[in-house]
């Protein structure tokens, strides 16, 4: 009986192909929107998590400025800067911190021969490589003497190396950063393409004192990376650092911090939070679209029931029970909305694939979401098909047979 009902439903749908297509369009759009958005959202969340993993999950970043400013808001206006002494104090006085390293960055043009390239120049020290868990692929790190004197030695990221030197060996060669000339002593291993949309490997490391003296022209440290010892919680290390920094910066017990300690999890959760808010909003839009689609199905089913009054009369006359007629029309609306759902799923996955290719993020289809979309379209069919189907089932066979 159910098989017959499905066969009949498909027949009825095929007979009015164009009308059926228009009817299910609402469902198609709703389902496709949800699937595409969630797929892309999940892909970008996966990407952010992968990025965070390349930065190191046990990394804390300390910057001056009000805590209310997010990690993207840069250095706070009035807050006192950090110093190299802060770096040493954090590393030496806090047991939960393994290493701390300064990191001052600026976007600059790097020149070799006739090749110019814009890159990020970061003033730091040799502990940077430990904190960021970033090994060298060739050459060496800074010597203590180079760090102390702020001499012009530099370590290249793999992108910069490739841009300036192609396949030739850069070690020992001098490049220019603005007016400063510096000798390449090492090359970093490639970290992989993007981190929050920027290329991490597009970097040149120089000694922090060289950066302060020759580029910034002050003694400031704009950011400190602190890596936490294994087995110690991020929160504990964060609290330790905050306590020490309040003390060092002489902040009274009722005053607010004038510095920030971020951990990478915080950044990733903030970014994934944005994604989930967007996904939620779009899901709401999609739900409305499904509702509208459902009403469309109900409308067409009502039209169909009226058009087929005589057919219903014939079916009742030859002995169809109320339940059998109800089933027939209910199955028709379910099949209709399931077809819409299936088209929507295929379309949504296609758009999701396209979107993730364009944004170069992983394609992350969610099987349970696909199942849910399928189930939801069936539900729409049941809910909005029930009233028309009941109207069909309750027809008076005599009246129905008389209908022209």
């Amino acid at each position: 009986m159910l098989y017959e009902a499905v066969r009949l439903a498909l027949q009825a749908i095929m007979r009015n192909m164009f009308r059926s297509f228009l009817t299910v369009l609402g469902i198609v759009i709703g389902v496709a929107a949800v699937i595409a958005m969630v797929t892309v959202g999940q892909g970008s969340t996966d990407q952010v998590e992968a990025d965070v993993a390349t930065l190191g999950t046990n990394l804390l970043m300390i910057r001056p400025g009000q805590p209310s400013q997010g990690p993207g808001s840069g250095v706070g206006g009035t807050a006192a800067s950090l110093t190299l002494k802060d770096v040493d104090a954090i590393e030496e006085q806090i047991a939960s911190v393994a290493v701390a390293t300064p990191s001052n960055s600026r976007s600059m043009t790097v020149i070799f021969g006739n090749i110019n390239s814009s890159t990020t120049v970061t003033g730091t020290d040799t502990r940077f490589l430990t904190a960021r868990d970033w090994p060298l692929s060739s050459g060496r790190s800074f010597y203590e003497s180079e760090l102390r004197t702020g001499s012009s030695a530099c370590i290249l990221g793999s992108t910069v190396r490739a841009k300036l030197f192609g396949n030739s060996d850069p070690l020992g060669v001098s490049i220019r950063l603005k007016q400063i000339s510096c000798r390449v002593i090492g090359v970093l291993e490639a970290k992989g393409a993007s981190s929050f949309g920027t290329d991490q490997d597009d970097i040149v490391l120089i000694p922090i004192r060289a950066f302060q003296r020759r580029i910034a022209g002050n003694q400031d440290v704009s950011m400190i990376y602190a890596s936490i010892r294994t087995g110690i919680s991020t929160d504990k290390a964060k609290a330790d650092i905050e306590r020490l920094m309040r003390e060092r910066r002489r902040i009274g017990p009722f005053e607010e911090d004038d510095f920030n300690v971020f951990d990478m999890k915080q950044i990733s959760s903030m970014l994934t939070g944005i994604t989930s808010v967007l996904t939620g909003l779009l899901s709401a839009v999609a739900a409305v679209s499904l509702l509208v689609g459902g009403i469309g199905i109900m409308n067409i089913m009502l039209v169909s029931v009226t058009e087929r009054t005589r057919e219903i009369g014939i079916r009742l006359a030859v002995g169809a029970t109320e339940g059998q007629v109800l089933l027939q029309f209910l199955v028709e609306s379910i099949v209709l909305s399931l077809i819409g759902g299936l088209i929507g799923i295929v379309l949504g996955l296609g758009l999701g694939l396209l979107g993730s290719r364009l944004l170069s993020i992983p394609f992350a289809p969610n099987p349970s979401l696909v199942l849910a979309a399928f189930a939801f379209s069936a539900l729409v069919g049941i809910v909005f098909g029930f009233f028309p189907a009941r109207r069909a089932a309750r027809m008076d066979p005599i009246e129905a047979l008389r209908h022209q």
Binding site: E311, R315, L316, V318, G319, A320, T321, E322, G323
Partner: protein, 256 residues
Amino acid sequence: MTGESTFGKVAGPGALPSPDGAPLISLRGVTKIYGTGDAEVRALRGIDLDINGGEFVAIMGPSGSGKSTAMNILGFLDKPTGGSYAFGGAEVDHLGRDQLALLRRNFLGFVFQGYNLLARTSALDNVELPLIYQGMARTERRRLALDALAKVGLKGREDHDPSQLSGGQQQRVAIARAIVTNPDVILADEPTGNLDTARSHEIMDLLTDLNRKDGITILMVTHEPDMADYADRLIHFLDGRIEADTIPDKAVPHAL
């Protein structure tokens, strides 16, 4: 489908739980009133009627005489306002919609003036329809439907849509649909009303055959005395009552 066990499929005439000698159909004081108050229409004003298994009954009468109402009640499509209806010796007045549907499905076949076939549906599928609702398996259904179509002389036209068939052929499909369930009774409502004389006589011959050879009881409403002549019994309705119930003179054979 609570009635399924009570009214399961039966083999055919005689399988009903009928006491010996009791008529197949028995109406006692049946009335039917539509509307209320000033709009009240008394379609049937007390009908007493017994029909035995195997009879061929023609029902005649002017429009509004109550013959269609009576047919609807006899065909379990409508319920009487008063009186009682026993089918195969069993009272059916208290039965609900679905139980009446099961009675129609298992014991009755309908033939209408306008054929009432499903459009854009092959002859075979039309004939299979009642068997689908009986829940019969596909192969069995197909076999019975092909048999029924052969019986009404439509072998080779099983795949034709109603639109590809003449009126006479469409009525034959309708008759095949009516007999495919092996019913006790065929209710025919002006079965030749839309057909020319030659085609009408063919249909009447077919119905007579079904009556004579298969013992199917036939109740037929008609306006045409020519067609009524095929019946063994003639019932005249007038103003909601049975005016005359006669056995016509069968001296003149109908064979053309």
